[in-house]
Amino acid sequence: MYQYDAHDQQIVEERAAQFRGQVQRRLEGSITEDEFKPLRLQNGLYMQLHAYMLRVAIPYGLLSSTQMRKLAHIARKYDKGYGHFSTRQNIQFNWPKLADVPTILDELAEVQMHAIQTSGNCIRNTTSDHYAGIAPDEIEDPRPYCELIRQWSTFHPEFAFLPRKFKIAVTGTPDNDRAAVRFHDIGIRIVDNEAGERGFEILVGGGLGRTPHIAKVCREYLPYEDLLSYLEAILRVYNRYGRRDNKYKARIKILVSELGIDEFRSQVEAEWEQIREGALKLVREEIDRVRHHFEPAKYRELPERDLSVLGQSLGGDPGLRHFVRNNVERHRQPGYCAVMISLKARARPPGDASDTQMDAIADIADEFSLGRIVVTHTQNLVLPDVEQARLTELYARLAEHELATANAGLLTDSICCPGLDFCNLANARSIPVALEIGERFDKLDYLADVGEVSLKISGCINACGHHHVGNIGLLGIDKLDEEAYQLVLGGAPGNDASIGKIIGRAFSRDQVVDAIETVLQVYLGNRQGEDERFIDYYRRVGQAPFKEALYGDHKKG
């Protein structure tokens, strides 16, 4: 993985020292909260309902075991013994004291981590495929490009005060998007052109929030050496014309929608012509320098096994068989696999890991996965380099720490924002709903019967829980001071991207889990065989049967 050079290290250390002075002045009363707020936000420090919240960047989700141990230590020493992995592949600590934050940043800098640009109207953490570098269907590892974008965007003087926050995602598997690139301000797909030359397709104007948009193609093919200059051109057009008078209309998706993609594209291209041969032109040596940090691990020569057969051959433990079927993915290296550690255990808030679990994961990563861990945007963790022959042993180790929940990709593997239990913006709670769903449907055979379905829960219209792109989505609303939930069906984040539609009037807190059970009953009772996934059934039949089952007849919705 990428190792800081002296400049990187100096930047994060100096930033932590600078913030120590700012915190000191705030505590002494020499600067006001209004003056302090933009400073703390630039260091990832929010004020939530009950406490400060510190968001720590995990570039493209990649962690070393050493970094994971540091996160465990911070959770234990400065927080309440846990961290929350977010949909941006970052980690959030919900209870730090202000006076401790500079020391936390010092400790993070010791392991090449920071909280820079995890908040504010700037370019945020660039995300990627959680199977980057190991996926058999990948045409090129996207992480070197993510790292180049990170270096270009960090403290970029032009883009520190954009109209709104800005999110970029990169995928190296153009035929199987696991990074939801169509729902980012800029989505980047590594592709080859007709001549077989490597480059990028650039998508722009995607996003969730109160006005979800699927990104549009800004450029079908961009040569690899022009990546940064083209991104700079897009950001310049956005920075110049993006609305600053209304925060709800300030994201680039609104600008692209109002201008139209053709006009937006022509402005970007005109800007790009001015700068494309300038200092941002990537040279192969620079790409190779960064790529060197992501070279494949030193794998052993091992025989490849058929994972579907392997699962059936692992004896009488049904939990292990489900685990192999649901949580284990193929690897490009014969004899290896990737293992998803679900952070969606029963009665545990989705995405949370305790300090002891984080320490255990670090130890297990060292022992089983070459010391590497990847955070997924679905709020789970991946051990990317596990020998297939050691799966039984690994499963047992994970189970000792409540980390062997075999529900990856199933209903109870929900994405869930912190909701009204923590968030200042939320209208309704998310976590208790996710826990009740986990309780209600925590039967491996039932989950296996329902099969692949995504459930995503947001506590407000800002959509941090990605409810628009859940096959089943829940949106928390405030209905006369009472929590209520709108049910959204039909969303999908990948190559077959679609935005879910609200099915009808909202459900009360007491009704909402029953409503989900009704939706599942409609699907299970009417699908065309077990191979028809929930999303395929929904696309075939539409909303009508669900409305009828939920509301009595579909006119009432």
Partner: protein
């Protein structure tokens, strides 16, 4: 003593040191229990209390007011947000020995 009928307000903020929710008392001190807060019966008094709170911003952040009802043990929030903010998260925290920050005594 505050009258018990009609609209009442409580002035609240988050502390600068740890961000926990606090509530203004009549004497200008801040407490961590909503039921010990000053239930303000008029908008004029509320606005004056908010102005006074804003002068204490070394210790607190972003004061605002919200409506309460007067229950047998003191002011009580009527909306879910302020109820949760006053009581702490309703979902389980990962460390068994931890208590929500706002459940500290005054």
């Amino acid at each position: 003593m505050a009258r018990s009928r009609g609209t009442h307000y409580v002035v609240t903020a988050n502390t600068t040191d740890d961000g926990s929710a606090v509530y203004l008392q009549h004497d200008g001190r801040w407490v961590r229990r909503l039921n010990q807060a000053w239930a303000i019966a008029s908008e004029t008094t509320r606005d004056a209390a908010l102005d006074r709170a804003r002068t204490q911003e070394r210790h607190i952040c972003d004061p605002y007011s919200f409506k309460v009802v007067i229950g047998p043990t003191g002011p009580r929030a009527t909306n879910t947000r302020e109820q949760i903010r006053g009581q702490g998260p309703t979902s389980p925290l990962r460390r068994p020995d931890s208590e929500p920050a706002t459940r500290l005594s005054a």
